[in-house]
């Protein structure tokens, strides 16, 4: 079997759904959406908590409601989708090789492609905790699926390592389900998740958060019987003598998310070492013409609203490319300067407004300025924290005469 499409979107989480919708609304006729799971929506289906879509729709949706709203909107269009369809390869000339139970292996020739594969959780192997390998160690997202979809409680006495948002959400969820969450241990000296999740998931339920702490050993033979936690110094090394044993039957890991870019690499797309996602311009186009990327495959965002915003941009520009195979335009680099750990997008191609997503390198609890050079442009903030992405918008008009790279610096006022 061989199919053709104007725009093919890979992945139907929030980024992919929005990209497919906007590609269609921007005039692409044959939009094809490929999803490897048996239903649309991606991870939203297990994120049963509220807080989705507040900026985009001004409604406080839960994850499944937010997904359902996008799916309903999409079903009113002629976007075609295939479920249980795994993309196994993507070539730089935009030929997709996929496989599903109905058609076996097939190819799609697409005028443009949108990557929306999202991210995956960093596993235990990624953080190297010594000790035994008993049952009862799960990533927070796997535990979320157990509880919210399959209906099992992974354990009764829980320790959470890492304070990413999913870990915080799961600390609350497991507490509500009757488990005792003994604490959340974070190796950094600031939390990984959003402040509002610290407040409504931990503080609301008196779950302690220990900063500058980590799990240094897992104990137990068949099942986890406890963990040893230690304080860490400024170099994040465990401090001898600070060890403490905590009895528990479950350890949840919420130690980071990694964009899932195996397909992108296969297509020869250049990745950024700071985001682990494709280097893109403000139109979400990667270094390979006609291949766009959006959402958490580009960089891990804090909010679904941001994911959707990049999906919209990618969908619209993928439709434009499908129509006109846009000529190679010029683009300039966008550089992370002082106090900037992460910056997205990494290039500017003079097509659209430049919406910058910035993570600062360390917490700054004082008034500060975000400077965009060579423009004489500053944004003021009262504080900046690495766990809370900063979004700023620079209008296209202000950028049209720039020839040198754009640099973003954060300085204290």
């Amino acid at each position: 079997m061989r199919m053709e499409a104007d725009v093919t979107v890979i992945g139907s989480g929030p980024a992919g759904l929005v990209a497919a919708l906007h590609a269609y609304e921007s005039g692409a006729k044959h939009v094809l959406l490929l999803e490897r799971e048996e239903e649309l929506g991606g991870i939203l289906k297990q994120c049963i908590h509220n807080g989705f879509g507040l900026e985009q729709f001004k409604i406080d949706y839960t994850g499944p409601e937010y997904a359902e709203r996008l799916i309903e909107e999409m079903e009113r269009t002629d976007v075609r989708y295939l479920l249980n369809t795994m993309v196994i390869a993507l070539s730089p000339d935009r030929i997709i090789t996929a496989v599903n139970p109905d058609s076996g292996v097939f190819k799609v020739k697409s005028r443009s492609v949108v990557l929306a594969m999202g991210c995956r959780e960093r596993p235990r192997g990624g953080i190297n905790i010594p000790g035994t390998r008993p049952a009862g160690v799960y990533t927070a997202g796997v535990a979320q699926r157990f509880v919210n979809i399959d209906g099992y409680l992974p354990g009764k006495e829980v320790v959470v390592l890492g304070s990413g948002d999913i870990g915080l959400i799961m600390a609350r969820r497991l507490t509500l389900e009757g488990a005792q969450v003994k604490g959340v241990y974070e190796i950094m000296n600031y939390p990984g998740g959003l402040k509002r999740n610290i407040v409504q998931c931990l503080n609301d339920f008196s779950i302690p958060l220990y900063l500058s702490h980590t799990v240094t050993e897992i104990r137990g033979n068949e099942r986890v019987e406890g963990v040893v936690v230690s304080r860490v110094d400024e170099k994040m090394q465990p401090i001898a003598g600070s060890e403490q044993f905590i009895a528990c039957d479950t350890l949840l890991l919420s130690v980071g998310l990694i964009p899932e870019n195996e397909l992108s690499k296969g297509a020869g797309i250049k990745l950024s070492p700071t985001t682990n996602g494709p280097i893109t311009t403000e139109t979400m186009e990667t270094a390979v013409p006609g291949i766009f990327s959006c959402g958490n495959v580009s960089t891990v965002f804090d909010l679904v609203d941001y994911v959707a915003e990049t999906g919209m941009t990618a969908g619209r520009n993928a439709a434009r490319f499908a129509k006109a195979s846009k000529k190679e335009g010029k683009s300039i680099e966008v550089i992370a300067g002082e106090n900037v750990r992460m910056l997205f997008p990494q290039r500017y191609s003079f097509e659209d407004d430049l919406i910058l997503f910035i993570r600062c390198a360390k917490p700054i609890e004082r008034p500060l300025r975000i400077d965009i050079s060579p423009l004489d442009m500053h944004f003021k903030r009262l504080y900046a924290r690495p766990n809370e992405m900063i979004r700023v918008k620079v209008l296209k008009d202000r950028l049209k005469d720039i020839t040198e790279p754009i640099e973003v610096n954060i300085t204290e006022r």
């Binding site: 049963i48 900026e55 359902e68 919210n148 969820r173 509500l176 402040k195 509002r196 407040v199 804090d302």
Partner: protein
């Protein structure tokens, strides 16, 4: 009279404004740090009776998945969250269910309804119908 200071993080939207409040005799004399009016409302509600939306799941028969995600349609007193969880524990629903269907009216006397937050089709012999 002594001024009592309290600190809140508004959880109404992702901005998460840090709000400082000064109280005298339990009356708010100053409130600072909220970017919008909702933050002030949030704080005065927090001082009276903290309210939260509850999201959880209910056991479901005859569908592809074992659990149906649900929510309260408005915030309920935080102190009643565990009581509501308990009431929902013993319920088992049958597919199909539509998103926004009212599953339980006026849960535990809170005045809030429990709503389904997704569609759940009925499964027969492994196929949805």
């Amino acid at each position: 009279m002594d001024i009592e200071k309290k600190h809140f993080t508004c959880v109404i939207c992702p901005i998460g404004c840090e709000i400082d409040v000064e109280l005298q005799d339990s009356n708010v004399v100053s409130i600072e740090g909220s970017k919008c009016a909702k933050g002030k409302e949030f704080v005065s509600q927090e001082l009276k009776e903290p309210m939260r939306i509850l999201t959880t799941t209910i056991r479901m028969k005859g569908a592809k998945w074992a659990m149906l995600p649900v929510r309260t349609d408005k915030p309920i007193p935080k102190r009643l969250l565990f009581m509501v969880m308990k009431e929902l524990q013993n319920i088992e629903l049958k597919a199909p269910v539509q998103m926004s269907d009212v599953i339980i009216r006026d849960i535990a006397g809170t005045g809030a309804n429990i709503l389904a937050t997704r569609n759940m089709k009925k499964e027969r012999e492994g196929k949805s119908v």
